[in-house]
Amino acid sequence: MVASKRTLVFAILALIVWSVTATAYAGYYHMQYRQLEDTLRAMQSLILRVNILINYGNGTKEWHNATLLPIGATVFNATSAVAEVDYTMWGEYVLVNSINGVQGTPDIGWIWWIWDHSSSQWKSALEASNKHVLVDGDIIGWNYQNWASTSPPS
């Protein structure tokens, strides 16, 4: 076989291998991408996103935005997901003693609030943090404050 013709034959064979495998791999990548998209879509109906504020009362504030939680998660679950929480059970109700090591005292402690989207202001909690089930888009705030104080997180 003439050298140039031989080179051409092997070049064509190499190109065939490259084009077929590259096309198949692109197809594989596309399928994987589609599968992940489907999984994500299915997961989105099972998760909720909430924003969580932890206000330490000394000017330090932590925002944990778009925290992903399973459907049915409570304020307590959400807080435990983003911070170290020490708590005491009072029957079936949770009392939060400390968040990230900041301990409550007889005068000051952790009180949680929820943002009311309709009135655009914080509303105080009327139940234990493990009893309030969150919905997608909720914003909750933990305030380290005097037990008698009614000032919301700012």
Partner: protein
């Protein structure tokens, strides 16, 4: 195709060695059978190379560490036979003048023949599992890539030493007049 006793013994020894390597524990899709089948084609001609591939894959179908091949076996046999026949065709055209060029050509041939083998076996999987052939090829592409890359390297690096060894044995005098 007419074997002398010595050639027949060599054919059987090569087949036995190939089966032995093939059924030994190894990572999936990394194998030396394609190379030895191709080499059998170079040594004994295309028809014998095809038979070599048939024999090796038939035995492998029952003894493979990955289990009984089942309905995929005929497709494996056809794929490997084509590699053996290709060895016989390559023998006619001979090796290139330089060692580097020979290695490159063999690497390309290894990748191409492995691709053909994988297309045939994946088509078999598609027909047996009743899935579209294109889908079977796409889903098998990761295994195929491993197979193609390993055989590209094996053909590129191992063919020349194999050829040299058999030339030293006096079994391979010329390939395509060289």
């Amino acid at each position: 195709m007419r074997f002398q006793t010595r050639q027949l013994a060599l054919f059987c020894a090569l087949a036995a060695a190939t089966v032995g390597i093939q059924i030994a524990p190894r990572p999936p899709n990394i194998e030396a059978t394609s190379l030895t089948t191709f080499f059998a084609g170079v040594l004994f001609g295309g028809v014998a190379g095809g038979l070599f591939g048939t024999l090796v894959m038939f035995v492998n179908g029952f003894l493979s560490p990955w289990g009984f091949a089942g309905l995929i076996l005929p497709f494996q046999i056809v794929g490997m036979s084509i590699i053996g026949v290709a060895g016989g065709i390559f023998r006619r055209y001979g090796v290139a003048d330089s060692a580097t060029r020979t290695a490159l050509e063999l690497a390309v041939l290894g990748s191409f023949l492995t691709l053909i083998y994988d297309i045939i076996t994946n088509t078999g999987v598609a027909l047996i599992s009743n899935v579209p052939i294109v889908l079977a090829l796409i889903y098998g592409v990761v295994f195929s890539l491993v197979h193609i890359v390993s055989n590209t390297l094996l053909f590129g690096f191992a063919f020349a030493p194999l050829m040299k060894a058999f030339k030293a044995l006096g079994e391979l005098k010329t390939i395509g007049g060289k």
